[in-house]
Structures are given as C-alpha cells and as structure tokens.
C-alpha cells in the first residue's frame, strides 16, 4: 500500500491499542492492522544489573500478571545459580506453584468478570454505559460478587506467600524466601475469614455452567465469530498433561499435527524466531521450521486445552472432555471458545490449589538450594495469557549481559490481527458507515485473547480503540471513537 496518512497526536486518546482498517474504492476492506503503540525497553535497561535483581525488576512489566514474570525470571535465575526445576526443594516448588495457580485464578477471574462478561451478558451491540462491570453488578449482583470474591481469593493467596497482592516477592535464586505457616494455610481452608477453597471450586463449576448455558443459546456466534485456523502452543508434563508451571513445549497446527514435539524449554531459541513489522512495537513470533506465514501460534487457555492430552485435575478434565466433544475431539479454532477454555482453567487452578493447601510439604523449611553457577538461564512458564519466556545471560561477575523476553501476548499478535481482519472482512467490509456495535465487535474479537499489552508493551482488556476508515487514496473518510 503506498498511501500516506498523517496522524495528529491530539486525536489519539488512550491509544494503547489501535486498529486501522483500509478500504478500497468499493468499500471493500483492503487491509487492517492492530497496532501496539508503546515501547519500554526492558531488554536493554536490565543489562548491567546484577542477576538476582531480575525477578523483582522485571515483574514491573505487568501489574496484572506480575507473578508470571516474577516466576519465569526466577526459573531462569535458578539456572544461573545452577538449579534446574528438578533440583528445587519440594517446598519451594509447591509454594511457587501455589502462587502461580493463585495468580492464574485471579487473572482469569478478572478477565471474565470485570472485562469480558458485559459483552456476554448484554450483547456486543449494547449501549456504551452498559458495557462495564458496574452494569454487570447492577444487573446480576450475585455474579459480580462471585467474580470479585474469586479474584480476591487468588490475590489473597499471592499476598500470603509473597507479602502483598501486587509486585510481591516470593522467589529468590534457587528457591523461596518464606516458610508458609499453618495459620496462613488454614485461612484458605477454614472459611472463617474468607470463602474457602471448596467454595472456589463450587463457584468455578457454577461459572462454567453459566458459560455452557450461554453456549447453548449462542452456539452459532461462538462457532463462527472470528474463527480461523492457526497453530496452538503450550506446555505439558512428561505424560502430556497440561502443566502451567513447568514442563515441555508442545505446539500443534490447526489440524492437530505436532509442529513442536515436547521439546525442553531450554532449547526454545532453536525453534522460535520473531519477525518485526514497521507498524507495531510488538513482535511476531513463529516456529522457524514451519515458517513465518503459518508458523505462528495462538497461546493461552484455548491453545492449552487444544494441545494438551489431558488436564491433571479430575473435575477440569471432565470439563475438557465435554469441551472438545463439541468439535468432535478436533482442534477448536474458534476465538470465542477462549472464554470457556479460560473458565475450565479457573476450575483447574482451584483444584490444584486445594491439593497444595492440603499438602504438608507446603509448610516445610527446606527453602533454598544451590548448584554450580552457569552463565545462561531460561525460564518458561504458562502465564494466564500463554507461554512466557525469560532468557538471561550473565558474565562471571554476575552482571546481566543479555536479556530476551517473549511475552505471552506477543505470540497472540498474529492471532489478534487475524481476528481483527475477520471482523473487518465479515462485518465492516462494504457496510458503508461504521456503527458503534461494529467497532465493539472488533474489540470483542481482540478481547477474547485477554491481551496484556502492559507486558508486551501496554493496555488491558477494555482497550480504547480508535477506528479510522481510509479510502483507496488513503484519505480519511470516516472516523469514530468507540464511545
């Protein structure tokens, strides 16, 4: 495209994510872009700092999922002090896992209740004043209270092990710095001060039921809206079961064929490459072997449910089986099923937390291990939004000399662009004028991926979008703020 557009910065408001759609002379969509507009430069400015500062420094990438960054960095730094995941003490592993499940639990609850539920409850064309969590609370107070309380439970788990809810500290090189006390543990079991873990499991099931009812009524929408083939990437344990904290990388294509066959996370750089586009600060990762065009993968709940053989906890596994039965046990490539998959993971996390909270080893005193120092460490974790990679290299003095981060949402870059294209082609193309409802559909498609552009760069589920329509001369013909 040879057109040239001038953007006046004054018109840019809240531009964390920005969509541009380009039309030809017949009003047909020629192209569309989902631009990520912020850049912070962590990979460079962490250089020169001591490696042990990394887990607390890099978690400031993101306030929604700081635990993921904290733990991915911690896993990488473990290797630098010579400790692989298997060498960590059982107590340290379990405390970290507990924190991680708490984090995924709260993050998914946040996304579903605070951000996504208005679209499901009120529809994509609902008036703007309806589309927020406050309106959900007015309409369905019980749902809102459940959602808020579930997020609270996850946040309280994090606070109990890391000292505070956001940007706490648990991990130190080779382990954790805190013993979990019986009193702290009982807080989550006895139900005296907060709803207990059994209630969380019960409510998780209730929310899945809510989603299944919605699916009954809106099957066509969920099946078709922003559906497109893609690869799916995630992490599994040795038996092929879903593992959010540690395991091997697996990817499948849209038909279910393995494109990445349970490789060690330490080898990621042999398999992944990242493309750069002129029009976005977020990169585009893909599998080298498959190539730039088809080698990109969705990550996150839908991808994980697609690529794993089973889920390790029984109730969630039952739900997974029901979920995949709808696609005849084939890969599910429908964007909107991400919401359902996310809720199955909510249940999975609640079940795993219950197991850990009842495990006496959680209260152990063996916290930190050490080994022979190395100059390179790679930590990969399944963050709420997908596969998260932290890679550090240090010199023999302990100074970080190199850092490479592939943040979950980055993997979804191509997928989100494909989702935007789908809405552009199927909803906006040849429609003449843009309505508010159409624009919200663009957002709904992006929102299903729960993008965390704070990490990759910036923003959050309810991103502000500004859509502009250009004619084939490149002139602005219609412009509308979603408002």
């Amino acid at each position: 495209m040879t057109r040239k557009i001038t953007i006046d910065p004054v018109t840019r408001v809240e531009g964390h994510g920005r969509v541009t759609i380009h039309l030809d002379e017949y009003g047909q969509v020629k192209d569309s872009f989902f631009h990520i507009v912020e850049f912070r430069g962590f990979e460079r400015f962490i250089q020169g700092h001591p490696y042990w500062e990394a887990p607390v420094l890099v978690q400031r990438l993101c306030g929604i999922c700081p635990v993921s960054h904290h733990l991915a960095a911690a896993k990488a730094i473990d290797q630098i002090v010579g400790v692989d995941p298997v060498d960590l003490s059982p107590t340290a592993t379990k405390l970290r896992r507990l924190m991680h499940y708490g984090q995924v639990f709260q993050s998914h609850a946040l996304h579903f209740f605070y951000l996504a539920s208005p679209d499901l409850l009120f529809g994509m064309d609902a008036p703007v004043e309806k589309r927020n969590v406050v309106a959900v609370a007015v309409e369905n107070r019980d749902l809102a209270v459940k959602g808020i309380t579930m997020r609270k439970f996850g946040q309280e788990i994090i606070k109990a092990v890391a000292g505070k809810r956001i940007h706490g500290i648990l991990a130190v090189p080779g382990g954790v710095h805190k013993t979990f006390t019986q009193e702290e543990r009982d807080y989550f079991l006895d139900g005296k001060n907060i709803e207990n873990i059994d209630t969380m499991i019960e409510w998780s099931m209730a929310i899945i039921k809510f989603m299944k009812d919605y699916h009954e009524k809106n099957r066509k929408l969920l099946d078709e809206f922003a559906a497109f083939p893609s690869g799916h990437l995630g992490m599994v344990n040795d038996a092929g079961g879903l593992d959010l904290y540690d395991g091997k990388l697996r990817a499948i294509d849209s038909e279910g064929n393995r494109t990445l066959d349970d490789i060690s996370t330490d080898l990621y750089e042999e398999y992944f490459s990242e493309a750069v586009a002129q029009w976005s600060y977020m990169k585009f990762p893909y599998l080298k072997k498959v190539g730039r065009e088809k080698g990109w993968n969705r990550v996150g709940p839908l991808a994980r449910i697609n690529m794993c053989d089973f889920i390790t906890s029984p109730l969630a596994e039952k739900e997974r089986q029901e979920f995949i039965a709808f696609t005849g046990n084939k890969v599910n490539n429908s964007t909107m099923y991400s919401h359902w998959a996310r809720l199955i993971e909510v249940l999975h996390c609640a079940e795993e937390m219950k197991i850990l909270l009842n495990d006496p080893e959680l209260l152990g005193n063996d916290l930190v291990r050490s080994g022979t120092p190395r100059l390179k460490g790679i930590g990969i974790i399944e963050a709420p939004r997908g596969t998260l990679t932290h890679h550090y290299e240090v010199n023999e003095k302990g100074m970080i000399t190199r850092c490479n981060l592939i943040v979950s949402t980055t993997h979804n870059n191509d997928a989100m662009n494909a989702a935007v294209k789908w809405v552009a082609n199927n909803v906006i193309s040849r429609s003449g004028t843009i309505t508010d409802g159409m624009l919200n559909q663009v957002e709904v498609a992006i929102r299903a991926y729960d993008p965390c552009l704070s990490c990759a760069t910036q923003a959050m589920g309810k991103m502000s979008l500004k859509a502009e329509l250009y004619n084939y001369h490149g002139d602005l013909i219609n412009e509308k703020f979603k408002n």
Partner: protein, 424 residues
Amino acid sequence: MPKLVNIIIDGKNIQAEEGRNLVAVAKENGIFIPSLCYYEHIEPPLGTCRVCTCKINGKFGPACTERVSEGLSVEVDTATLKDTRKALVEMMFAEGNHICPACEKSGTCDLQHMGYELGVSSTRFQHLFKDRLIDFKPTRMVMEHNRCIKCMRCVVDVKTSDGKRVFNYQNRGNETDVGIDYDQEARLTEEQAVNAMRICPTGAIIVKAANMPEPFGDRKFDLVSEQKNYNAKEKVTKHHQSEMGKKKIATVSLAGCFGCHMSLLDIDTEILDMVELVTFDKSPLTDIKKFSTRCHLGIIEGGCCNSENVETLRYFREHCDILVALGECSVWGGLPTLRNTIPLSECLEEAYLNSVTNEPGNHIIPYHEDLPKILDRVYACNEIVKIDYYIPGCPPDANHIWKAVKNLLWGEEYSILYSEFKYD
C-alpha cells in the same frame, strides 16, 4: 561521676550528661531528630548529610555533631526546619537513581526510611538521571553508585582485619564519588563484607547474590515509625468540604504496568459500595474513550514515555478538577526511568535487531505514522502538567488509594498511616 547539664529542646527541660551526642540525648527523651549519616558507633559523627539540621543556640547546624553542654537550646520541630530536612532528603532522591522496587535494601534502607518518616511523597526537584556505574569489579561486592549518597559511613568504618581502609572519596565537588580499593576489598572476610552492606544507609554496597530475604511487612522499616505520633495528615492537600453527591472519576494508565489500576480494584467487594458514590467516566475500566463530561478527579498511573502519553495527560488536566499521580511511575517516572541513562537507539536495537530470537538480517525497527513517537527519556507527570496530589507506592495499597480519593472528593478526615507509606 559524669557531670549533668540542663538543656532545652523545643521548650522541654532535659538533663543529660555533658558531652553526649545531641541526637542520642533527644532520642532518649522521646524527641525524634531525623538523621541519616549518623551511625551510633562512628565517632566522631560524620555530619555529611545534614538531615539532622536543627536550630542550635539560634544557629542552623547538624545535631549529630553537637555535644550537649549547659544551657544548650535546640529547636527541632518547627515548620521551616521540617521543610528544610525534607528538602534535603528529596534532593538525595533526585540526585541518585533510587529504584526502591528493585533494590535489595528496600525495607531496611535508611534513606527510604527517612522518606517515610518525613512524608516525602514526591520530590520538588527534578531528577538528574545521571549515568552512574554499577561496579562488578570487587570480589565480594557490587558497588551500585546509582544509590550512593556519599555519606562517608563506609569510608571511615569499613576496614580490613589489619585496619586498612577499603573505601575512599575520590574526585571533587559534585563529581565526588566513593571508590573501592579492590585489593583491600578482596581481603575482607564474608562477615566484614556483610557488615559493609549493613552499614551503608542505602543499597549502594551489595554483597554478591544478596537476596531480599525479609518478607514484606516483616522488614525493619515496614510497620513502626520512630515518631510516637506519626501522622502524615499535614502532607495531605486539604480540600474544601464539598457537597456529598455522586462524583465523577476518570483514570488512565500511561507508561505504567496497570498494577495501580489493579490495586484500585483490590478493595474487592467494597468497590460495589464505592460505585454508589462515584461514577467512572473515561477509564480503561469502562468503554468510555473520550471524556463525556468534566470530572472531579483524574487518576494518572504511569509516567510519559511517548508523545501520546503527553497528549493524554494534557487532555486529563484539561478535563479534571483535581489530578492525582498514582504510584511511583506517575510520581517521578519510576522503574521505566532506568532507560533514561541509555540512548533510545540502543533500547530499540536491542529489542528489534539484536535479540537472540530476531530474524538474522532483520533491519526493521518499528516506525510508522500510526505509532506514537517514543520520547528521549521517561518523564514524570509533574514535568508535563501540574499535579495536585501524589500517592507513592509500587503499587500503592488499595485502602490508601481510596482513603485519599475520599479525602480529595469530600474533604473527609484522613491521615496516612506509616505502614501505608511505601515506595515499593
């Protein structure tokens, strides 16, 4: 028998042994004189930081170098003195690069402690963002010059077993820094090295592979103030008692991580009560993209790292009666200012050209008319527009935020608890 003398501190008659240190005497009598470089067993006291400045017999001077003598008259708790001491601490924050969230000494740092005690929620001086060395050459230590306040404690107090000094002042004037004798440093025992880390009032001397061992809340300066009646109420901008009634709030995250917004939600179900009192206008929590009306309060998370952040911040200033900087990034730039000492081109090259997973031969760095221009450095919000109120923290505690919001909107009684005052 030591001789007892009579002195007066803030009008209070006190008897003390002649020749004793004024800061220590005041402390024993329940009077808090802030001090930073002062360290009990260093004799004579250093007097370098001036944070203990008082009016002594009518003249301004450091209390830590003053010996108690008959008839000594000292003023400690006056508005001018408090402001002077606070300004001195603010200057130290502005002069170095103090990133509490990523510092090993956070929670046990004397500089941070003084910030809390004196209620430093923002600095009135522009941060210098000097490019300072992190020195990995020592054997046992890492010397973090970004955090050094040149108090001289280590210079006079850290010695090898045979009495050789390890640290020394070098250069002059504002170029002065603390150098290390690497040979002597290598001769320190592990215990001596750990002691050097402990004696440093900030995180400038770090023993290698030191962790952050104390959980939040259990750390030395987390919960209890040295002042008996710690009350930061006077630091709060008191607004006129305004009518009750629903108020409009707008929020935005600029170059932040969204953690402050998450903390806003961390009052859990109380948010359902809050929305009876306030409505959210333009905010990432709603679908409202442009101000639909003028707002009583604008809450800003994050500093400014690109042209769009600047425009958005100005847009908020235009449409909000009161503007609050929420969190470290918004208050003074925060952790993202780590890039302020590095050329932007290097940051971009590292991300897009040199990363291990980049395509070999890639020469594209994002640059597009639909992308905002990245600024040369990260700016604090108050460098761009007037900010009315600051809430420090990374992120600030949820209850602290909502207390402040209520105070600003309805002028309710309010005081910051010491335990709420945090930079990390």
